[in-house]
């Protein structure tokens, strides 16, 4: 009986087929797998998931100092009193000198408790909030002798809390700062308007001052913008430098009209702009304002409009048809416009063009107020028994800066966390995006900075917390918006088959068929052996 499988050629054939199949399976498949793999650097996914829970703890240092006459001697013995003061001066001088006594670091507060009978504060005012980080709290009438320390502290606690809410942060402020992640339930309209008005936290802002002169034939305007910016605006921006970088520029636009026709009011012999028509003023002008092409920072525009001689004077009326004192309005997240009437500077009949020097102090006063609003400095009005000191020459009180820094740190931390978690989710979902080393490094540094920022917020070091949060946001934005992360790689499965089948099928068919033939021959041999045995 001839054994066809025993011939040397058949054996060689079988060996060849088996070795080719072995090569393909043992070497070819892993090689193909390795070479078609996308390079994905390691990401700290576990830490990112932990950060996603985002439990923030904010603590602010408050130092409460009791003035003489507020605490009885028994209470004084129990409380570690640091100092006692007896002041006769006016309240703002007191504030200044108190500030010099203890220079408080940013983020902390000092509250001085003064006796009921003190003459520092006027009658109906219980709290005076100073320019720096100090506040004066007048103790209540019921805290006379005979009360224990516990009752004194219990009386003080809600008042101190109220001061903290005004000067540092309140629940509403933090919720507003977290508006990206937390569903913001609107319980009062002011907070919504506040959150829509202020610019989002950004590493830099651009401020542009524009002078609009629609009638250069009549008015030759001179404004000392450089000096005004140096004297009035720059101190504020220097003070805000831990929060963001600012770049300033200015321009003069000629023949730039407002988009609306003002109405003539003969009773006041002036032109009136209604509050309803103000919304349409900005758009025609905005097309002609330039912006710095190189940066992507948000732009704040401040426009000073000098009406032409035929439409002077021009006043703005609010919704209740009353004249607006500042003659200015602003638009949320855009900037402000002020109308400056110059018809009072010259008599009719003089030779046109007339030289006009613009009073920059008045103009910058309005612009500074608008700038504070747009940057989110202004908060809701304090309770009625509070008196707030006017902000100093820099336009910003220290505690307002602290307030801004608190909300900015929280906002930065929240935004950076959202960015990192959504980036991790995206990279997880789309399997064939390449993750380069620099992206992984940015993500790691963002995670580290976030953890540090959260730790600093817990301790209460506001300055460091803000710095770390800024670093975190920069790193996370850089990682998220990296141009290499484009997932143009959507391959549906049928397309994948269509690519691989013409390559691999012709190669695999002979191998498979020869393997099948070997297997069937082996089986037949075994059956014959079985038959032989029987």
């Amino acid at each position: 009986m001839g054994a066809p499988w025993r011939t040397p050629e058949r054996r060689r054939g079988k060996l060849a087929a088996l070795s080719i199949a072995a090569m393909v399976i043992l070497v070819g498949v892993p090689l193909w797998w390795k070479t078609t793999q996308t390079y994905r650097a390691w990401l700290p996914v576990a830490q990112i998931n932990e950060l996603a829970k985002l439990q923030l703890q904010l603590s602010a240092d408050v130092e409460v100092v009791f003035a003489r006459g507020t605490a009885t001697p028994e209470q004084q013995k129990k409380v570690p009193v640091t100092q006692t003061q007896d002041e006769d001066h006016a309240v703002d001088e007191a504030d200044l000198s108190l500030h010099r006594l203890s220079e408080s670091p940013c983020g902390s507060l000092v509250i001085y408790v003064i006796p009921e009978s003190s003459s520092l504060l006027p009658e109906n005012v219980n709290v005076y909030i100073g320019q720096r980080r100090t506040a004066l709290l007048r103790i209540g009438a019921q805290m006379k002798v005979g009360k224990t320390l516990k009752q004194l502290l219990a009386h003080l606690e809600p008042r101190v809390k109220q001061i903290l809410q005004v000067m540092s942060f309140s629940h509403n402020d933090i919720t507003a700062a977290l508006s990206d992640r937390v569903r913001f339930s609107p319980d009062n309209k002011e907070s919504i308007a506040d959150s829509m008005r202020a610019f989002k936290s950004s590493p830099g802002y651009e401020i542009t001052f524009s002078l609009l002169n629609p009638d250069p034939k009549s008015h030759r305007l001179h404004w000392d913008i450089e000096g005004a910016v140096q004297t009035y605006i720059q101190p504020l921006l220097t003070k805000l430098s831990p929060v963001a970088n600012f770049s300033l520029d200015s321009q003069i636009l000629y023949y730039a009209m407002l988009g609306v026709n003002p109405r003539y009011d003969s009773s006041r012999s002036a032109y009136i702009l209604n509050a309803d028509s103000l919304a349409h003023v900005i758009n025609p002008v905005e097309a002609r304002l330039g912006s710095n092409a190189a940066s992507s920072n948000p732009v704040l525009n401040f426009l000073l409009y000098v009406p032409d001689a035929h439409h002077s004077p021009l006043y703005i009326h609010d919704h209740k048809k009353r004249e607006v004192q500042t003659n200015a309005f602003h638009s949320p997240r855009w900037g402000g416009i002020m109308v400056y009437n110059v018809n009072g500077f010259y008599q009719t009949g003089t030779n046109f063009p007339v030289d006009v020097n613009i009073n920059m102090a008045k103009v910058m006063g309005v612009f500074l107020a608008q700038l504070r609003l747009l940057l989110g400095v202004q908060s809701t009005a304090p309770p009625s028994s509070f008196q707030v000191a006017p902000c100093g020459s820099s336009g910003l009180a220290d505690w307002e800066l602290d307030r801004l820094m608190w909300s900015r740190s929280v906002e930065n931390v929240a935004t950076a966390t959202t960015t990192i978690t959504s980036l991790a989710q995206l990279l997880d979902q789309i399997g064939n995006i390449v993750i380069n080393d620099n992206i992984a490094q940015q993500v790691s540094s963002a995670v580290t900075s976030l953890q540090l920022a959260v730790a600093e917020l817990e301790v209460g070091n506001l300055g460091f917390a803000l710095q770390y949060s800024k670093e975190a946001i920069l790193a996370s934005e850089k990682a998220f918006f990296d141009p290499s992360l484009l997932h143009l790689l959507y391959f549906p499965d049928d397309q994948k088959f269509a690519i691989y089948i013409p390559l691999f099928l012709p190669m695999c068919v002979p191998i498979l068929l020869s393997l099948l033939k070997i297997v069937s021959e082996v089986r037949q041999r075994r059956r014959e052996k079985q038959a032989k045995k029987d």
Binding site: M196, T231, N283
Partner: protein
């Protein structure tokens, strides 16, 4: 009978009176609720993309330019519009009227205008660049005008036109974007809070397939045709030699020409634009991902740029004198008599004289000849010729 009719008319009159009272009350109530809460946006952006090249796709460029014109007229400035045109029709060699792109035949309306700002032109209009603009992943050297710098309070209008199919849109005759990629791009925009609300309009064949896969919130989508239908073009111009506009965008442009920045028309009117009788295809829309009711969304929320305004109540008292370094130089400038810069875009289509429809006179003569020869017999033909 007359008494009954009299009672009926009085009933009608009282009914209308109460209705107007109720309507007036509702309007007053809404006005006093404050303009901040009608929509949540503070700025508007528009991304207008034409994806086809070659001269015979003139209509897609005209589509995009007419939406650009409307959006600019209603107030969105060029700095907030990203205009992507895949080919240059105005300066094409085959254009008999260079530097113009017309939307109405007989060259009534030039949508190219005098101050078009095209941000991505020609071969720069690719799927990659489009997705980069949407997601913001542009190289650092990209100038500001080529970026979509929207924030979480921006309303964005996205308009796409070109040749499409079931689930894809063709770019430049060489690549495609699928509806899954588009939906993923919008999801990434939402993750980064790059929009407050987004209106997506697409004018291609089988356009409704492009918005089927959306899953991010606050998206509203309109398409010119359903899956399986073709979007048709409107009318050719015999002098230029190509079809000038697509039907859906033609009627959309007509609808938008009646909108002015203060108008209160809402989205339900936009959904009614171009019914099947005019468009031949069935336009579709999708609002299930949108949180607000479409009836309360104004057209100008997306197509225009109506700013919110607050009166500045406070001022800061500044008393320090200015320390100016250099003294002010007075220049003697003379200014030319100049007309105020008028809005050049406000060009309504010119009303041409009425001509009888094409072919009418020819048909009329044919009819006369036929009747003549029917009556008098064909043998008289030899007398004519």
């Amino acid at each position: 009978c007359s008494a009954r009719s009299f009672r009926f008319t009085t009933f009608l009159a009282s009914l209308t009176q109460t209705l107007t009272l109720v309507v007036h009350f509702c309007l007053v109530f809404q006005d006093s609720a404050g303009q901040f809460f009608s929509s949540g946006h503070t700025n508007n952006w528009a991304v207008l993309v034409c994806t086809s090249r070659f001269w015979f796709n003139y209509r897609h460029v005209a589509n995009t330019l007419s939406v650009y014109r409307s959006v600019k007229r209603l107030g969105i400035p060029d700095s907030h519009i990203v205009l992507m045109l895949a080919d240059d029709m105005a300066c094409n060699h085959r254009n008999p009227k260079p530097a113009t792109v017309f939307s109405h035949k007989n060259m009534e309306l030039n949508v190219y205008g005098d101050d078009v700002e095209v941000d991505y032109r020609g071969y720069e209009v690719t799927v990659e660049n489009f997705l980069r603009v949407l997601t913001g992943r542009l190289p650092p050297s990209t100038p500001r005008s080529k970026r979509l710098l929207s924030d979480d309070r921006s309303n964005i209008l996205i308009y796409l036109t070109g040749h499409g199919g079931n689930g894809f849109l063709k770019f430049q005759d060489s690549e495609e974007i699928s509806n899954v990629e588009l939906a993923d791009a919008f999801e990434q925009m939402w993750q980064k809070r790059r929009y407050n609300e987004l209106l997506f309009i697409i004018d291609t064949c089988q356009g409704a397939s492009m918005y089927e896969r959306f899953y991010s919130p606050n998206l509203m989508a309109l398409a010119s045709s359903q899956v399986g239908e073709d979007s048709l073009s409107h009318q050719p111009d015999l002098a230029i030699g190509v079809h000038l506009m697509d039907r859906y965008t033609f009627y959309l442009l007509e609808f938008l020409e009646d909108i002015h920045p203060a108008s209160k028309t809402n989205m339900n009117d936009l959904f009614k634009v171009c019914p099947k009788s005019q468009c031949v295809s069935t336009p579709g829309h999708r609002t299930d991902l949108f949180l607000r009711d479409p009836g309360s969304v104004l057209i100008t929320d997306f197509f225009g740029s109506v700013r919110k305004i607050e009166i500045t109540m406070e001022t800061i008292n500044l008393t320090d004198p200015i320390n100016s370094g250099n003294d002010v130089q007075t220049e003697n400038n003379t200014y030319v008599d100049q007309l105020p810069v008028s809005e050049i875009i406000h060009q309504k289509p010119k009303q041409r004289d009425w001509h009888p429809p094409d072919g009418f006179i020819l048909g009329l003569w044919t009819l006369i000849l036929l009747v003549f020869f029917k009556t008098y017999g064909v043998k008289h033909l030899k007398h004519v010729f």
